[in-house]
Amino acid sequence: MTDGPATPDLKTPAVEFRGVNKWFGTAHVLREVSLTVAKSERLVICGPSGSGKSTLIRCVNGLEPFASGTIRVAGHDLTPARLPAVRRAVGMVFQHFNLFAHLTVLENCTLAPIHGRGIGRRAAEARARDELERLAVADLADRMPGQLSGGQQQRVAIARALCLDPAVMLFDEPTSALDPEMVQEVLDALTDLAGCGMTLLCVTHEMGFARRVADRVVFMDAGQIVEVAPPEAFFDRPEHPRTREFLARLL
């Protein structure tokens, strides 16, 4: 870890879920989810596939609607009217990178600042180059996404999100689509980011990363939060039988 871990500011919640429910057809995929994420907290969400963890973080920036309950993000209630304000505060990185295939790496990073925020092209490009530099992909600025390795694409995707100064970053299984030899470079980038005081919500199966970086680990199963604990307690003394079963299968 680069810096000493910034301590989460427990008095200011960055993201708050209260009694969130969601259904896909008849499947009840989020059941009464309540959770408060503090400002600067690094939260890792894990659980078996289909447990609702990706759906949960997609709700944070309104990519998925939810049926009942409330979500507050950076002081804004998540309503259609406040959605633009929420999305300004939240950055997101996807499992499949989702770089815009028809734009160069640099254009990927400047598209939203220029067209969404009205930042001038010069300033947007300068900022984008800084962020690409920070993620060690500055030399790829003029390439097309299809010419990059998975790890490089994911680092570009992180840079693209950072160009918008998000207060909260969502990571939806950022290493699951990568070849094993590229997982580490992305995890290293995430670890660097974790030292910067940004609020992170990360869905991942990388338990080593969770242990090193997370302030708290959330375990979800069948649409519910089953256990929330600091990493030492979570990995060494899991309480719920489901958690134990999950960890036993993983390790």
């Binding site: 920036n61 989702n98 939203a112 999100a161």
Partner: protein, 378 residues
């Protein structure tokens, strides 16, 4: 038992291919009995077909002469193929129809505008392509209409559309179809994927109606029935009526092509755009559509080729398009000779072939270029 390699192999050059034209022939044309037989059958077919075609179009053709006599075998004293002298004598009529001779600079300027627009849009690295799109889809059509039909604004005398004809009309009909069908088709395709049921079903209904009706029915409807539905004092120009029909007809097909492209773009692209704070309209305009349209360039060109050839149907409702003026020209008694009809149709075939083949080649070029630009797209 373990195996450990002690020295790593350096890369070796690929094995030499059996070189020379003989080697090429052997591997590509005569590699086995089936392959050899196929080659021979096709060669025999070509040997039967090509010499007569070449004789008709070139060696036996009559290239000059002031009247039909030159193309009569008994006058020429030899077998006569295509009578190109006839095309030469009629070329102005074939290009402009009955457009007044003194005003023919106007269609010529229009052809120039079309060429400029085509280069601006089709040359992908052309400067200011955004401005070009505005020109092609907005300024160009208005300017062209003023130019051809005449307008006091440009101090041009009016020329009734009934005088327009030939390649000019074919070009006008096709271009109106193309220029209207692309944007309309995009809107319809987006509408068909809308979350609003009313909009969605309206678009589905529109598309399925126009796709379900033969173009010729559309043209007859436009010509015969539309005036019945309109108030008596409102007359729509007889060239405009089929134009509207063709534009709507083509837009339905275009919508389905574009929808295919929209479906080919992974949902993650739109999600990423929204997550970055772009609005839905921005996500469409900046992320989804540019990619979707690139994917369907072959389909779009295919539709445009079909549209271009379908415009010949307007001759049935009395529009003097290229085919119709060709028919009129070959009925000229001064040019009655046995091969005149064949010459006329051969000329038409060559004209349509040249245009459609160019479009197809352009599409192939775009495809190759896109394949190079987005290699290994995930």
């Amino acid at each position: 038992m373990t195996i450990v390699r002690e020295t790593l192999l350096p890369p070796a050059p690929p094995p030499r291919r059996t070189g020379g034209p003989v080697g090429w022939l052997r591997t590509n044309l005569f590699s086995g009995p089936g392959n050899t037989l196929t080659t021979l059958v096709i060669l025999a077919g070509l040997a039967l077909l090509l010499p007569p075609v070449f004789r008709f179009l070139v060696t036996d053709a009559v290239w000059s002469g002031g009247a039909g006599e030159a193309c009569r075998p008994e006058v020429a004293g030899r077998p006569v193929g295509a009578c190109w002298a006839f095309i030469g004598a009629k070329i102005n009529y074939l290009v402009y129809g009955s457009y007044p001779a003194a005003e023919r600079w106007r269609p010529n300027l229009f052809f120039g505008l079309v060429a400029l627009s085509a280069v601006w849009m089709l040359w992908l690295d052309a400067p200011r392509r955004g401005l070009g799109a505005v020109f092609v889809f907005l300024v160009g059509p208005l300017l062209s209409y003023g130019l051809l039909a005449g307008t006091p604004v440009l101090a041009l005398a009016p020329v009734a559309t009934s005088l327009w004809g030939g390649i000019l009309v074919t070009l006008v009909v096709s271009l109106v179809g193309i220029v209207a069908a692309l944007p309309l088709g995009i809107l319809l395709a987006l509408g068909r994927r809308s979350d609003l049921p009313v909009l969605r079903y309206a678009c589905i209904g529109f598309i399925e109606f126009w796709r379900g009706v033969p173009l010729i029915t559309v043209l007859f409807m436009a010509n015969v029935m539309l005036p019945l539905f309109l108030p008596g004092d409102l007359t729509v120009d007889r060239l405009v009526r089929p134009l509207v029909g063709i534009a709507l007809f083509a837009s339905a097909y275009m919508a389905e092509v574009v929808r295919g492209g929209l479906q080919a773009i992974p949902a993650g692209q739109g999600r990423a755009a929204l997550a970055l704070g772009l609005t839905r309209v921005q996500a469409l305009r900046l992320v989804i559509l540019p990619q979707a349209l690139k994917v369907v360039v072959p389909g779009i060109v295919n539709t445009l080729i079909g549209l271009f050839k379908d415009t010949t149907l307007v001759s049935i409702v009395g529009i003097a398009d290229f085919i119709r003026v060709l028919e009129a020209a070959r009925a000229d008694p001064r040019w009655s000779a046995p091969t005149i009809p064949a010459t006329a149709y051969a000329f038409a075939a060559l004209f349509y072939l040249a245009v459609c083949f160019s479009m197809a080649r352009y599409a192939a070029f775009i495809e190759r270029r896109l394949a190079a630009g987005e290699r290994g797209r995930a």
